[in-house]
């Protein structure tokens, strides 16, 4: 998956590099919080670990083998910020000292293999472990799902980038099918390895698994006669810090929507192309909402087409986020309500 030079056009490479620089800058701050003054040696050794683990080839199907990407694994073991940082350093070192991955494609590679796999992997992991009971099995299942989903999503984002600024005219549908197909297989292997590796570390040194900090039992104080001092239940519950991840994700999505939309070509997409080829688009009526302020992915009243498409992307993402956030918020209120009800019932 290391993209070489010349695979994407210069505008796409440069915008991806800008996104990668922004992402890595955020992660440099976050990693200091995760590792404080040990950041450099610890992240360096974890990066060396990721580098070594990427050499592990595993059989996918007859005659093909994949190698670990390690994004989800690194995020679960050392936290999302350090995870992105480690993978970014691995890619930088591979490009500079091993000529693996193009120098101009470094931004694309960090974006796809670092930021996307870590964000998706860690997001899915948090989602699964939040709604599952706190147990080692849940951590294992979460790790499997996280790695399994992160790989094809990364392939999908690759396809999107290819649609925006690929240098060949092969049908997007074909690319998407091939990429997602192969990478779902690789994802299964990646998921298995991530699950077993995380479980192994959890069995030996549970304190090292960043994603399993919620499993750590709160400190139990005992009196001299051995009877436990009741701890404040509310305080014992560890605070989950999801806000930085959420904000980072939103910023990157907006950047992608705005910047990539800005460079997006206005040539027909796969479906429209098929429609034009087969002639069924002559039967198509304009959508009822085509006259609405955001119709046909542009903002009415903004003359420059590129800025208009970029703006439409940003507005669309904002609306989607607000809708999704509203649903999530409502669901959360309900579970919290239920939990309180359950607790008061237990007290009574």
């Amino acid at each position: 998956m290391h993209v070489p030079d010349g695979f994407f056009t210069v505008p796409v490479s440069v915008s991806a590099a800008a996104v990668a620089v922004a992402g890595v800058t955020v992660c440099l701050r976050g990693a200091r919080k995760e590792l404080d003054d040990r950041t450099a040696p610890m992240a360096g050794l974890v990066a060396a670990f990721v580098f070594a683990v990427q050499m592990l080839n595993f059989p996918v199907a007859v005659g093909t083998s994949g190698h670990l990407l390690g994004g989800a694994l690194a995020a679960i073991l050392v936290g999302p910020y350090t995870g992105v940082l480690c993978i970014a350093v691995v890619l930088l070192v591979q490009a500079l000292f091993f000529a693996d991955g193009g120098l101009t494609a470094l931004g694309v590679n960090i974006g796809l293999l670092g930021i996307v796999t870590v964000l998706v992997g860690y997001g899915v992991f948090r989602l699964v472990t939040r709604f599952a009971p706190r147990s080692r099995a849940a951590i294992g299942i979460g790790s499997f799902t996280a790695a399994l989903i992160s790989v094809p999503v990364s392939a999908l984002v690759f396809t999107l980038l290819y649609a925006v600024g690929g240098t060949s005219s092969i049908e997007i549908g074909t690319v998407a099918t091939a990429m997602v197909g192969v990478h779902t297989l690789i994802g299964i292997g990646e998921g298995l390895i991530t699950m077993v590796a995380v479980s192994t570390v959890l069995a030996v040194r549970p304190d090292l698994v960043y994603g399993a900090r919620a499993l750590a039992r709160p400190l139990l104080l005992r009196r001299a006669d051995g009877s436990p001092i009741p701890a404040d239940a509310e305080r014992a519950e560890p605070r989950r810090r999801t806000r930085p991840v959420l904000i980072g994700g939103v910023v990157i999505t907006l950047l992608l929507a705005g910047v990539v939309g800005f460079y997006a070509s206005s040539s027909p997409d796969g479906l429209e192309r098929v429609a034009a080829d087969t002639g069924f688009d002559t039967q198509a009526k304009p959508h009822d909402l085509a006259d609405s302020p955001l119709g046909d992915y542009g903002v009415k009243g903004v003359e420059n087409e590129r800025i208009s498409v970029g703006l439409a992307g940003v507005i669309g993402v904002t609306i989607t986020l607000l809708a999704g956030g509203g649903v999530a918020w409502a669901a959360r209120r309900r579970t919290e309500h239920r939990r309180r009800a359950g607790r008061s019932a237990a007290d009574a």
Binding site: A31, P41, A48, F49, H67, V89, A99, I170, T200, V201
Partner: protein, 253 residues
Amino acid sequence: MGAGHAHGRLYRAGDSIVHRLPPQCKLVAVVAFTLVVVATDRERFPAFAGYAALLIVVAAVAGIRPPFILRRMTVELPFVLFAVALPFLSPGPRVEVLGVWLSVDGLLAGWNILAKATLGVVASILLAATTEPRILLLGAARLRLPQLMVQIAMFMLRYADVIVEEMRRMKVARESRAFAARNLKQVPVIARSAGALFIRSYERGERVHLAMLSRGYTGTFPVIDDISASRWQWGIAGTLPLTALAILAGSLL
């Protein structure tokens, strides 16, 4: 995709003018050169020949032998396969080549990826072969790569061999017990080794950190190499991208 990573360092000690150039000059020159290559329109065939000639001149001056470069070029193999597949898969008008009907657009797209990726890989190989890794990172730091990034990369470079060796020893241990990864059923064994490798790496990191603290580490590394570049050296390094730019301009006329 399934290529794995090439082992071993690319650096070849030497005393040519390319070796002696400060790292930041070479870094800027190679990135600028690749940008010019990537920006070149795919149908300007003479320009690509010109770029290749430039790289051959640099390799000759640096004393890097062609077999060495050719062996290292295998990293781009997965994408070469993709480029070869393009003429068969792309839509559009077709031409007959050696009795096979191929897409014109696909041929051009395949050529585009093949030519640009190859030129990029060779430029990167020449950079890595003529610059000591530690010095190259110092050069990157001078180009405002954040200190923390540089330090992480330095630790990674220093310990990558140790960790890879540790992984190799675990592999030897597995195989001397008659283990062979044949299908998915064997994946958990490999995964458990990965878990063990992580614990070993992390604990080594903790020991390294303590050892450094006891030797007075304060968060920065003392830099004892003077790698400042003179205007003359920037000029020499600049000839590579500038000549490439001239070739591009010439092909546009």
